[in-house]
């Protein structure tokens, strides 16, 4: 002890600090400076002119819209195990299973839909999936629609999205 104690100075006790007005002046200097530089050249403000400019810095770890992956022969990778639906904290994955007839696996989803209005984009479904069948690597960050139903993505829509970062097919099912 003793040696390593650093006494930080206490502010706010002397007259100048208690007067408060000099501090306001200092603060105003900063905000006014920002204001006047930016109003003078508003094109230099470092923002994205969305939607004309699109973000270019989406990393491969970004959790975008979901998609269902394919196997090498373009069939669905999902085996309808309901792991994702179980893991989902917002209960927004709805799966109906059916028998699979191409001898690849026993089951596949008849319908698979995600209500993206309920989804919180936590990524638990991706973590839970044993088949690498559901992914959030589409890089899509905005979804628009005119009604609530437009936001419930069905199996075909989910299968139609492409991965944005190279890995296209499921890594666990071939």
């Amino acid at each position: 002890m003793g040696k390593n104690i650093i006494t930080t100075p206490r502010y706010g006790k002397n007259f100048k600090d208690r007067l408060y007005l000099p501090a306001i002046y200092e603060g105003c200097k900063v905000t006014f400076k920002h204001f006047f530089t930016n109003i003078n050249n508003s094109n230099a403000v470092d923002t994205l002119e969305y939607p004309e400019e699109q973000p270019s810095d989406i990393t491969s770890r970004y959790r975008g819209l979901h998609r269902l992956t394919h196997r090498a022969d373009d069939t669905i990778a999902c085996v309808a195990c309901f792991m994702c639906a179980t893991a989902c904290p917002s209960d927004c994955i709805f799966i109906e299973a059916t028998e699979r007839d191409d001898n690849k696996d026993e089951k596949m989803p008849k319908s698979f839909s995600i209500d993206t209005l309920e989804c919180i984009f936590c990524g638990y479904c991706v973590e839970a999936c044993p088949c690498d069948a559901i992914r959030m690597d589409t890089g899509i960050f905005s979804l628009t629609g005119n009604s609530r139903e437009d936001f419930v993505l069905n199996k075909d829509q989910l299968l139609s999205y492409k991965g944005a970062f190279g890995e296209e097919n499921s890594c666990a099912r071939s």
Binding site: L21, I24, G27, C28, V30, T31, F32, H34, F35, N38, I39, N41, S42, N43, V45, D46, T47, E49, E52, E53
Partner: protein, 429 residues
């Protein structure tokens, strides 16, 4: 009542109503854009009508339309005092609006020996009117918070009440110091008093005559308008929206707009009391009338210079970046506004030239009044900008801190200031 007096009364009223109401969308827009620019963002600049975005001010009108056609939701748990619940935003809004109505925009016009005041409400006891009506606004806040039957609203209303008891006294005492100094309760006479010079070089503005009272006045008016750093009645992080929590659609908009009208009123009171009102420093109305030609010549040079500056500012900033391909009609907008501004400058110059070449007493008077109105609006907007920039600079006070500021510092200071003022005034006379 002569024809002239009726015309002047109507003009003053319309001007006052326009200044109070039309500044609301402008102020909302100004606030949002300023916030953006201070924080290195741009703020709303997209909404447009046929490609005319006017820097984004159209957004405010779109917001008003949105609020008007929103569902009128009435919280079902409020069983008693429904009508008062609905009435309270109106009380706040109307109080702020009425308080604005005693501010003079220009000097008293004298036509055919008849003195016509350029105030929407031509009264001689403006300060009392302002004090009486201005404080009513908070009653709407308290009613609204109480009748919402909601803990957040109740807390918000309670804080608003605690604010009133802490700032009203210093505000009143500071204003009394001004009344003692100027020896009048008439806003117009106060402005007249401030056209003199002090020690030969300073304009005798209240801010130089009474620096301490001026600071107290500004601080207290910040508190009265519920602006930062005194936004204790609402607090996102603690009590949601405070007294406004249960209000929606146009009821909410009334509170919201009332806040901006109150800010506008406070700015008007501040510039009228301590920054010389509608007068240019050193220049009295008499001087303007007598030497109108010189002012007209100066303006003939200044108006095109200002227009040129506005156009070059617009050409520099109203365009998209090189990285964006579509310009969404900005070049066309710039062109049209440039032509409009040039046309306006030419018209104003022509009128000024005509007036300076062919002297006409009545026309000169009207021109001087208009110049004063313009000066008033410029000063008003400058002070509103100050209000807005302060909001984006300072953090919020805790409400007990506001109380201790009011009672422990501002009240003794304003009392002290009042004593000194009284002694000096009595000693000098």
């Amino acid at each position: 009542m002569s024809m002239a007096s009726i015309i002047v009364a109507i003009t003053a009223f319309v001007l006052g109503a326009l200044l109070a109401l039309l500044t609301i969308p402008v102020l909302v827009w100004l606030e949002r854009r300023t916030a953006g620019l201070v924080q290195d963002r741009l703020g709303p600049n997209r909404t447009n009508i046929f490609g005319f975005r006017l820097g984004g001010v159209v957004q405010s009108f779109a917001d008003v339309v949105k609020l008007l056609i929103k569902e009128e939701y009435y919280p079902s748990h409020i069983k008693i005092g429904r009508w008062l619940f609905m009435l309270s935003p109106i009380i706040t809004f109307t109080a702020a609006l009425l308080a604005f109505m005693v501010i003079p925009f220009a000097d008293t016009l004298i036509i055919d020996g008849e003195a016509l005041r350029m105030q929407p409400l031509p009264v001689e006891y403006g300060v009392f009117w302002y004090l009486a009506i201005g404080s009513v606004g908070v009653i709407g806040v308290i009613f609204g918070g109480w009748l919402s039957h909601n803990k957040y609203s109740l807390l918000g209303a309670m804080r608003a009440t605690s604010m009133v008891v802490s700032y009203e006294l210093p505000l009143g005492l500071a204003i009394i110091s001004f009344i003692v100094t100027y020896n009048t309760v008439d806003f117009n006479a106060m402005v007249q008093y401030q056209t003199d010079t002090l020690f030969g070089f300073l304009p005798s503005w209240g801010v130089f005559l009474q620096p301490l009272a001026s600071i107290i006045l500004i601080v207290a008016l910040f508190a009265e308008t519920n602006r930062n750093p005194f936004t204790v009645a609402e607090g996102e992080s603690e009590i949601v929206a405070g007294y406004m929590t249960e209000y929606s659609a146009m009821k909410f908009a009334m509170y919201f707009m009332g806040e901006y009208v109150a800010m506008n009123t406070a700015s008007a009171v501040i510039i009228t009391m301590i920054f010389g009102g509608y007068q240019l420093p050193y220049v009295s109305t008499q001087m303007l009338l007598e030497n109108f030609n010189y002012f007209a010549y100066a303006l003939i040079v200044l108006v095109p210079a200002f227009t040129w500056w506005m156009i070059s500012f617009m050409r520099k900033n109203n365009r998209v970046r090189p990285s964006v391909t579509t310009d969404s009609g900005r070049i066309f907008e710039t062109k049209v506004i440039t032509i409009f501004l040039l046309f306006l400058a030419v018209v104003v110059d022509a009128i000024l030239l005509y007036l300076s070449l062919i002297p006409n007493v009545l026309a000169t008077q009207i021109a001087v009044t208009m110049i004063q109105v313009v000066i008033f609006v410029l000063k008003l907007m400058a002070f509103n900008m100050f209000f807005i920039l302060i909001r984006w600079t300072l953090p919020r006070f805790r409400y007990d801190q506001v109380q201790s500021l009011g009672w422990n510092y501002l009240l003794p200071l304003s009392l002290f200031n009042l004593f000194v003022t009284a002694i000096v005034v009595v000693g000098v006379n």
